[in-house]
Symmetry: C2
Subunit: 311 residues, 2 copies
């Protein structure tokens, strides 16, 4: 029996709960096991009006419950959850996370721990929402590997940049992004490139078997982008996108770059994300889809569950 | 130990042999097993100047060798290999094939046999060369499924259609496709839509858990395409592509359709293929890459091997 301790019950974790309930029959068939939500960690129980009997605000209720054999995490909390998660992995508890901030910062420790204990650690949802990026990496590597990877991985930046192309100032575009729900109240992780940095960090580490320190990744966001540069690009059929880049020589960075408007990365709109793998043997492989969203990201958490327990 | 009987030693099978040799160390690590090529089936031994001691023209040398536990098939032969492959699956021998003609025609029999015997049957290379299409289907289904799928899956047709856009007649475009190696001496499987039909048949069967009869799939190729239709489309920013379509109501067909020129399917060039999954919960997921080529397709055969034997 898969006994889940769910950390968080917001946009992503709540959708994960829904997806599992909606597809319980198929999932139990694929995994060959019953699935139970044992407990759910939140900070403010009053906010929720379902699963009342499962909710807790004490993380010990989950981390000290020896029956829980799978932790699914989608909180956004970073430092206070890293050690308990590491301890859980040590004990052999499997972990699925959508939390790019936590995974990017603690990647090396968590991966080494999971390798030692043979517990599974999966985080497809942390990179590119619904897009199956990480699950394709092992195969890309085994048949000769990848030379470099380039991704457009932040929907907020996409949206703002295309609004500037439409004539808005950066400030107006950011305001509109907030109104439309693309940007959060504090948009710095998006517009300063941090979000993209975390995603390209996670992807490159797995692809190139090398751990990077976040603070050593050159990260330039779009906050100070020159609006004229965008308009000039447009005139010659180009467009500026915030890209994440990584290669097998260990080069890794995030910055706005000029792309052909009608290339696959250049033509992305709004919340669309895409990543291009430049492989040694299979040409370019591109994967594109919705980079965020509750159900979209929850879909990747379910994929991880199948990767771990699928027969 | 993985003991391989290789059927065929041409463009794809030869590249598979090379990829395994080049990446042997990594593959043996991932699978936890040594890998050996035990025998290789061809028709004309004189053509080959390597692996002489492994070559055979008698299929019994492979199918009656009880040490062989994996058959990797890339011949193009259809009816004469279907039954021996089915018998091998029955005995528990795993099978990987790149042969879309054989897989499409015998899909139901082969899948049912492999389910019964619990032997693995994989054929990623049969649909879309290097593109990881089939390996993503199980997950797409488990998290709510797919409403419909549309693919541009034939590079020869892509090439010919874009040459007609450039002003060539169909005949001239076909000639050029042959010159450039896009089209074979007998191009009918490509230009009559048969190749696309096989790929969308295989994909839809897996996605929608329903077997189709090849002859019941409405298949219109590009042989009789109206050149004016293509030029008219172009004038309004559209383009004609040969698409394969399947949906969860069991609708399935192949025909030339008008697409936006700057959409992801509309902008494909030459040998590029792409497929769009319209999912229930994760929006549209697009996968794009090289649809054919020896090393590209062999890459998918290696992926299948990892899927079967990866720890
Ligand atoms: N939303 C997306 O589209 C998306 C896409 C990819 C990845 N992600 C990642 O998924 C994670 C969750 O995102 P979200 O959009 O679902 O956020 P959210 O809607 O704000 O939900 C966060 C949930 O976690 C709980 N939580 C937060 N900090 C906690 C803590 N220290 N201890 C206990 N519970 C805590 C919250 O509980 P209270 O409300 O009770 O405080 C809430 O239930 C983040 O790491 C995010 O980066 C999100
Ligand atoms: N080429 C691609 O880009 C590509 C992409 C995706 C899928 N595929 C599929 O992969 C398969 C192989 O394609 P390919 O391009 O590699 O063809 P190929 O270069 O012509 O090679 C075919 C090989 O199979 C052998 N063979 C053919 N029929 C045989 C039979 N009845 N008995 C024994 N050996 C036989 C041939 O041996 P002899 O030469 O000695 O006759 C040759 O070694 C086909 O099913 C094709 O549809 C190809």
């Amino acid at each position: 029996m898969i006994k889940i301790g769910l950390l968080g019950f917001g946009t992503v974790a709540g959708s994960f709960y829904d997806l599992v309930e909606e597809n319980r029959e198929g999932l139990e068939k694929i995994t060959g096991q019953k699935i139970e939500f044992k407990k759910i960690l939140v900070r403010n129980i009053g906010k929720y009006n379902r699963c009342k009997n499962l909710l807790t605000i004490n993380k010990e209720d989950i981390f000290e419950d020896r029956e829980i054999n799978l932790i699914v995490e989608a909180t956004g909390e970073v430092d206070r959850l890293a050690s308990p998660i590491e301890e859980a992995l040590k004990r052999g508890v499997n972990v699925i996370s959508a939390n790019k901030a936590l995974i990017s910062k603690y990647l090396e420790r968590l991966i080494l721990t999971s390798k030692k204990s043979k517990a599974s650690l999966k985080f497809e949802g942390a990179v590119g929402g619904a897009i199956p990026i990480l699950s394709n990496i092992e195969k890309l590597k085994a048949a000769g590997g990848v030379k470099k990877v380039i991704g457009v991985l932040n929907g907020t930046s996409n949206f703002i940049l295309s609004q500037i192309e439409n004539g808005l100032s950066f400030e107006k575009a950011l305001e509109l992004a907030k109104e439309k729900g693309y940007a959060e109240a504090d948009p710095s992780a998006d517009i300063d490139g941090i979000d993209t940095m975390r995603k390209i960090n996670i992807t490159s580490s797995l692809l190139f078997d090398k751990f990077f320190k976040e603070e050593e990744i050159e990260t330039i966001g779009i906050r100070k982008i020159n609006e004229d540069r965008i308009k000039d690009a447009l005139k010659s059929g180009k467009t500026i996108k915030l890209i994440g880049y990584g290669d097998k020589n260990g080069k890794i960075y995030v910055r706005p770059e000029e792309l052909e408007k009608n290339s696959i990365l250049g033509s992305l709109k709004g919340g669309e994300n895409a990543i291009v793998f430049f492989t040694e043997n299979a040409g370019e492989i591109v994967i594109k889809g919705m980079g965020a969203g509750g159900r979209e990201t929850a879909y990747s958490l379910v994929s991880d569950l199948i990767d771990i327990y699928g027969k």
